[in-house]
Symmetry: C2
Subunit: 238 residues, 2 copies
């Protein structure tokens, strides 16, 4: 149970598979947990449910107001953005623009608003994590929109690590770059894949909690690839 | 004057400073020129004036229909996207999200729709150019949204250069990465800058025409930085 003096985390995308694992893990470790997502996560101590889907500015205003309701004039120790989604297809795909619009909203809008929340609510010395993709460090002809959206997130985190980015003093911004997360949905769609190369959600949740508590926290501006082989995950920093 | 057998180019952003220079240059060299922009360019042989500003999908549909009106079932030799704009500020800037929304629309939406136009209307062996920014190859704490938007364009062009991107056969996609273009607006806002390091619009227009005609065309997927010193521009390929 979170006490008044508990550390506080905002999980952006707290209703997704990874987000939910993070909510549960931090809660079990005594953190106060707020969730931002399309729907409330009943396990969280507080929720912001997004209803503005068509305008980045309206979504920003809604989420800022919602987080203010949750934390008032207080600050949080960590903001973890794990909102996202995947869409395949190349530029000849009939849904190319539609899918690109979707992944821009899922990955870039959420990352940009998480930055805004950080400048408003993150403690000095706090942690902001965003979610990139290891695949997007290379060309992504099988998922053109997804790759460009994640590349934008990567550059954003590099920028956050540079002097003058506007991040609160002594704070750290990091991107995690999964290869493949071991979610129920991914198992459903890729039932014959080698799951021993997929990264467990509990591993990611524990990693982010350690970083949030200042343990083994990467340098500001780091991209951290999660490379899993034979069920064991190693981190590659760039 | 463009003849029926003239080569054809679509200039996306044909009413901007660089776009207008390109329209004029190609026209003077006997090309048929279509312009896509917020307003018509009367120097162009055909225009698509954008009225849909709030939805990427609606903008795509409007521009696809407009270009179909111009070229019918025909194809074009080159699609040159020079739409764009700049916005400064870091994540603590009150207009951070607003400015990021703007640059995403200016640079990413235009690039994505130019890709869509290319899959529909570019000849095999044709040229697609997009516009990146040399600054966005590094962190951009003074212009956070601009940097992430241009980084998305860079990754997109790398992807277009990879097998299976959906670009018409034997076509080439290239990004130009200006440092600073010598436009009236830039001179107005930076009157004391060293203009000898700025790249002339005529130089860029001539370069893009040569590439469009197959001369010194870079490899598919190239990022080409325009580095100007003492009034002379050199190209750096990556």
């Amino acid at each position: 149970m979170a006490t008044q003096s508990a550390k506080k985390v905002i999980v952006y995308g707290g209703r997704g598979a990874l987000g939910n694992a993070i909510v549960q893990h931090f809660k079990a470790q005594g953190w106060w947990v707020g969730s931002v997502d399309l729907h409330a996560n009943d396990e969280a101590h507080g929720n912001v449910a997004i209803t503005k889907h068509d305008s980045l500015l309206e979504q920003e205003q809604e989420i800022l107001a919602g987080v203010k309701n949750l934390v008032g004039d207080g600050q949080v120790d960590a903001i973890l953005c794990v909102a996202g989604g995947w869409a395949g297809g190349n530029i000849a795909d009939k849904d190319f623009v539609k899918n690109t619009d979707l992944v821009l909203k899922q990955s870039v809008w959420s990352s940009v608003i998480a930055c805004r929340l950080s400048s408003a609510y993150l403690k000095p010395g706090g942690l902001l994590t965003l979610t990139g993709a290891n695949s997007a460090t290379e060309p992504t002809p099988g998922a053109v929109g997804y790759g460009l959206a994640k590349a934008a997130v990567h550059q954003l985190v590099k920028t956050l690590g540079a002097k003058g980015s506007g991040l609160p003093e002594n704070s750290t911004a990091v991107a995690i770059l999964p290869v493949m997360l071991d979610t129920p949905m991914n198992r459903k769609w890729m039932p014959t894949a080698d799951f021993s190369t997929w990264t467990s959600l509990d591993y990611v949740a524990d990693l982010l909690r350690q970083w949030s508590e200042g343990k083994t926290r990467p340098n500001n501006g780091s991209l951290v690839a999660l490379i899993t082989e034979k069920g064991e995950t190693k981190l590659q920093y760039s």
